[in-house]
């Protein structure tokens, strides 16, 4: 099973890479058919990615959510899922062109991690693991899409009126609302992550909040997005300012995931 997962993982990387290139060509040559092919390729990559995760889970005999490799590949999966959901929900194909490089970077990061399957330490042997980490994957995926939307929002002004991109990118108000929807999804799931993590920590460590660096940075990320939401409803701070906060929020997400594990060891150090 793990060999199948390895093979599938490589195919998934290639599929995401090919989708990214197709999206770029779509923007360069301005042919809608290419975008449709890119979306189909991204969907195929996503389906194979799901199969790879299932194989990993079956091969390991547990949920594949416990180490850097597993979380990174799940993060890319979550980002792909949410971006596809937004592409279809809002008929916004160009989103794929901006999301695909981020997905490829994250799965590339996963490829650099050790794929060794290790047995779980007692603290991780809990049903809460599934709730806690899977909600984090959706949250991170949604924040990734919010980041991409914020970049598109910030670049929107540079797009020439009546140009190809202008016709394929929603207007600023719609972009702002779609970005808000993405942050809403992310913040809701991040709250689920923090609350389920607190309940689990209470059972495993005897303390639901220990100011561990991972906990603290999750809180910092939560606060940044809470500021984003408040800014959006303050007159004069919508749009550009909120978009900048969505970008800062995603920087916090990445720091919480990679930076904390690398620079700030704590009780989450196995993650």
């Amino acid at each position: 099973m793990l060999q199948i997962e390895n093979a599938l993982f490589t195919i998934v990387m290639l599929a995401y890479f090919a989708a990214m290139i197709l999206y770029f060509i779509f923007i360069a040559v301005k042919k809608d058919a290419l975008a449709r092919t890119a979306v189909i390729l991204q969907c195929a990559g996503f389906a194979l990615h799901t199969a790879a995760l299932v194989c990993r889970g079956v091969g390991a005999g547990r949920l594949p959510l416990t180490n850097q490799y597993e979380f990174a590949t799940c993060f890319a999966w979550g980002l792909c899922l949410v971006s596809l959901a937004f592409i279809f929900r809002y008929r916004f194909t160009v989103l794929g062109a901006f999301a695909a490089p981020v997905i490829f970077l994250i799965i590339g990061y996963a490829a650099m991690q050790s794929r060794e399957v290790r047995e779980l330490m007692p603290a991780l042997r809990s049903n809460w693991l599934g709730f806690h980490v899977s909600t984090a994957i959706i949250a991170y995926g949604a924040f990734g899409v919010a980041f991409v939307l914020a970049l598109i929002f910030l670049l929107r002004d540079r797009v020439k009126a009546e140009s190809f991109l202008d016709q394929h990118i929603p207007n600023r108000e719609k972009l702002d609302v779609i970005g808000y929807r993405s942050v809403s999804l992310g913040l809701l799931f991040l709250t689920f992550t923090i609350v389920t993590g607190a309940i689990w920590a209470e059972r495993a460590w005897g303390s639901y909040w220990s100011w561990d660096p991972k906990e603290t940075w999750s809180l910092v990320t939560w606060i940044i997005y809470a500021i984003y939401l408040h800014l959006r409803i303050r007159r004069g701070w919508q749009g550009r300012s909120a978009a900048i906060f969505a970008v800062v929020g995603f920087v916090c997400v990445i720091f919480t995931y990679i930076g904390v594990n690398t620079f700030l060891p704590g009780i989450h150090s196995y993650a």
Binding site: Y90, R118, E119, M121, P122, A123, R125, S126, P170, N171, R172, E173, K174, D176, V177, I178, Y180, R181, S184, L185, L187, L188, T191, F192, I194, V195, A198, I199, W200, E202, R203, A204, W205, G206, S207, Y208, W209, W211, P213, T216, W217, L219, V220, I223, I224, A226, I227, H230, L231, I233, R234, R235, G236, W237, Q238, G239, R240, S241, V260, L264
Partner: protein, 443 residues
């Protein structure tokens, strides 16, 4: 406006809330970047002396319990409380108004489509509930349908949840009692000053084939000697499975190695005690002589020039690292194998019967439930705020018999307008709205 009112208004404002959140994000980041709970020497070793002094002066060594961190949180609570209290009457009025067609009819809504022959189909496409029918003050027929009023309460409920969470956490920090008891099976230890005793009945470390630990399980009995043995309660604890006894929560927290340390004097047994690694034994008839049990290696390996280590967790080649102190001066340190003994003048010291000890954490926190309930209420509030979007759609008949459809949604924005237009059979691309070209006001 008086200065007091100005301050009061500022404290309850969203601007203040945003500033507090920003400050909180910064101080939390700083608190996580600086290792907490160390002394001056520790910081001075890693930072320039001035920085180390500044860390201590600003309480950055214990940032999350410092007076300024508590003050920021107190202001945040005050801000949230005032926000919720001041908004409550408006929110009640808005909730009532959302169900009242007359309120909607007084406004134009966010989107308007004229000339519809039958608005019912548009309402159905928008999945609105069955509309109320009536006539306006000037005698025109209208239809009104509103839904998801609960969504108006999202932010309010979320703020309430955060208040509960902070209150539960703060009260828990102030009142909770924590104790640690460790020992090997057969030992009974007091639980701090609670009056209860904890007997360790059994402790198992389940290993997998590859020597990794699958689970730690302790079986304990807790009783109050004053209440008699009949009041004793027993439970099994393992990681992720704490037990609640006598209003206290017991956690299988950690483990380590213990050994029996035997001391004899001129060949006559003098003393025998179970000592955990990290503990020491004071020789009973020569208190100045102390045997410190530093570490235990169940499967001892040492190559020349390297530190002592263990090859596995199994008891294949037990070895004990000890140090000996006399009158608080270290006089020796070495590794002792299972079949070896240490001789100090007339005394012979031997280590034997290595076994795992369990470390049990005991906690009494009456406010944990409040904090966790706060977390759940916060989640509920966010769910209401983000996914229960209040909206109202109404249609008014003109003199020519055609209807004008109006729609209003608090959070739908451009997407809601598009939905209404599509439901009314209008292509959004051909419908110019006043809000479509959103411009940023200067910040």
């Amino acid at each position: 406006m008086s200065a007091v009112r100005k301050i009061w208004k500022f404290i309850s404002s969203m601007r203040f809330a945003i500033a507090l959140l920003a400050v909180l994000a910064v101080v939390c980041s700083v608190g996580s970047l600086i290792t907490q709970g160390q002394d001056y020497a520790w910081y001075a070793q890693r930072y320039p002396e001035r920085t180390a002094a500044l860390i201590l002066a600003l309480h950055l060594d214990d940032a999350f319990h410092s007076w300024w961190f508590i003050l920021i949180n107190a202001f945040l609570c005050l801000n949230l409380l005032l926000c919720n209290v001041l908004r409550l009457p408006r929110l009640i009025a808005r909730t009532r108004a959302a169900a009242d067609p007359r309120s909607a009819l007084r406004t134009a809504g966010e989107v308007r489509v004229e000339g519809l022959p039958a608005p019912e189909e548009a309402l159905r496409r928008l999945r609105m509930p069955k509309p109320a029918r009536g006539t306006t003050e000037d005698g025109r027929a209208y239809l009104f349908a509103g839904k998801h009023r609960a969504g108006l309460w999202g932010a309010w409920v979320c703020h309430l949840g955060i208040l509960m969470l902070i209150a539960g956490f703060s009260l828990g920090q102030m009142t909770r009692e924590t104790y640690v008891v460790y020992g090997v099976p057969g030992q009974t230890r007091p639980i701090g000053d609670t009056g209860y005793l904890l007997a360790i009945d059994d402790f198992r470390v389940d290993l997998r084939e590859d020597d990794t630990v699958e689970q730690y399980t302790a079986e304990i009995t807790v009783y109050n000697p004053a209440a008699g043995a009949d009041s004793a309660l027993s439970a099994a604890l393992s990681v992720n499975n704490p037990a609640s006894l006598f209003g206290m929560k017991f956690y299988q927290n950690s483990t380590g190695w213990a050994a029996t340390v035997s001391v004899s004097e001129n060949g006559e047994p003098l003393q025998e005690e179970i000592v955990c690694a990290g503990e020491y034994l004071r020789v009973s008839d020569k208190p100045d002589l102390v045997i410190d049990f530093n570490a235990f290696y169940p499967d001892y390996v040492q190559s020349p020039g390297s530190r002592p280590a263990t090859a596995s967790g199994r008891l294949n080649n037990p070895a004990y690292l000890y140090s000996v102190y006399y009158q608080e001066q270290m006089i020796g340190m070495n590794v002792l194998m299972a079949d070896e003994a240490l001789t100090i003048d007339d005394y012979t010291v031997a280590f034997s019967a290595p076994q795992s000890y369990t470390l049990i954490q005991i906690k009494k926190d009456r406010f944990t439930s409040l904090a966790l309930a706060g977390g759940l209420v916060t989640m509920l509030g966010l769910l209401l705020a983000f996914y229960i979007q209040p909206s109202a759609v109404w249609a008014v008949q003109s003199e020519d018999g055609l209807w004008t459809l109006h729609g209003s949604s608090r959070k739908g924005g451009a997407l809601f307008r598009e939905r209404v237009l599509r439901a009314a059979g209008v292509d959004p691309a051909n419908h110019k709205s006043e809000n479509e070209d959103m411009k940023d006001a200067p910040n």
